[in-house]
Symmetry: C2
Subunit: 217 residues, 2 copies
Amino acid sequence: MSFEHFFPVWDQLNMTQKSRIQDSLIERQIKKGTMIHNGSIDCTGLLLIKHGQLRAYILSDEGREITLYRLFDRDMCLFSASCIMRSIQFDVAIEAEKDTDLWIIPPEVYKTIMEESAAVANYTNELMASRFSDVMWLMEQIMWKSFDKRLAAFLLEESTLEGNNTLKLTHEIIANHLGTAREVVTRMLRYFQSEGMVKLTRGTVEITDQEKLRQII
Amino acid sequence: MSFEHFFPVWDQLNMTQKSRIQDSLIERQIKKGTMIHNGSIDCTGLLLIKHGQLRAYILSDEGREITLYRLFDRDMCLFSASCIMRSIQFDVAIEAEKDTDLWIIPPEVYKTIMEESAAVANYTNELMASRFSDVMWLMEQIMWKSFDKRLAAFLLEESTLEGNNTLKLTHEIIANHLGTAREVVTRMLRYFQSEGMVKLTRGTVEITDQEKLRQII
């Protein structure tokens, strides 16, 4: 499967635009754990995922993290090319959560095409609206949901993504996803364990009662 | 001053597009305190502010609120027309915080023009990126900043917007802006008062030491 099959508005580009993209496209294999993009430092380009999983997150000055959203096969990552839009005034970090094959479209190439093509501009709009919706969902979770619900939802989502009830996750990593302190995670996981919903060992969390965990949410 | 002077991409529209907007445009005077748009219930249209002040916020099921951002003269409100984009999967409420004169562009008119005009689509992109930046700023505040800093910043911003050190704000209203409980606001305001930064009377907060308040942030 080639780029044309992954880029949804390909058929709406003219010949010049198509060849401009094809001539500048970079294909990359990224190892799990690699930091692909780090905030305002660089303008990496738009990333179109062939296969894999990326995580977008923000970092505080003190090194705390919170996961904003994840990107999967066929998703396009816009904020790794935030220089294409003047009004994007925030920094997002992107890392590969699994081995990932992706294409990079250079930012200046995409910007030029977006400026002349209503189809590409509207596609970009829909992309941004999707990520905006993810962040608004997160905002509502943080504002109105108690931490036990957020942690239960996170563990269930991880188990779906990994296809496994035994999750290789330290309390520190979970804290970084959920934007809280490690101690808070440890305390809640111990409570979950005492209720028979999870089993904790060093570096893993095993979900032992999916149904009970689901009832918390 | 007429609509053409307020709509930044007017000159990039063709004659048909211009007349489609002019024929469908609605001008409105909105009284302070009016709820203009309420989440998913309606698709009001795009609001272009001639003069005034709007507040965009989200509401929890339990009726808690948090202010996302404010809009001022010449700002365009996109999320009162969320039906124009399929990927906008969240609801925002909009109210007039001051008497506001605005134009309403019907959503279907704007959508049609956006689909054919790269200029309008890119303008819409920049609008969304601006609001996204506002929300990301807020997210960082909520995640990494302590409540004293957020409250101090809010009081100073209000005083700038009102051009007055005496703010007509109940603790309940402040809590709704900042997405917290009234008791939390009361406690922190009393602490600010004990430090000589504000003076509290029924229904008002008077800033008595701007400089000291600024140092908290």
